[in-house]
Symmetry: C2
Subunit: 80 residues, 2 copies
Amino acid sequence: MMKARVTVMLKTGVLDPQGEAVRHALGALGFDGVEGVRQGKVIELDLAETSAAEAEANVTRMCEKLLANTVIESYRVEIA
Amino acid sequence: MMKARVTVMLKTGVLDPQGEAVRHALGALGFDGVEGVRQGKVIELDLAETSAAEAEANVTRMCEKLLANTVIESYRVEIA
C-alpha cells in the first residue's frame, strides 16, 4: 500500500481570488508583510498499488483526467 | 523575503465529503485500488520577514486566527 499526495495550484498569472481574499483578511487582522498569497488544494490518496513507479504513473493520469484542470492549474505528485 | 507553505487537512475522524466525492469519481473513471482520499487546502505565502523563526511563529499565529479551523482541521507550516 502506498500513499500519494497531489498538490494543485493555479498557474502563475491566473487570478486567484481566494488567495487575494486571504491576503486582505490577514492584513485586516494586523498581519503585516504578507506580500502575496496563493491558495490551492492538496489531495492525499491511499493506494493499493505496491510499485512506486506504477503509483506515480497512475496518479498522474488521475490528475490529467480529474484532479486538476490543466488549462489553469498545475499539479505536483509525491509518492510516499 | 521568505516563502511559507501551510497545509490544512481535516483531522482524522472528521468526515471528508469532498474526499469521498473524489474517491467515487475516480472509481467511476475506472481507477481501481484507491482506498481512501482526503482533500485539504494549501496556502502559499510570500512574506517580507527575513528571519525563518519569526516567519514560522507569525504563520502559526495566522493559522490559529484565520487559516485553519482548529476544531476540525490540523495544519502544518513549512518555511522555505
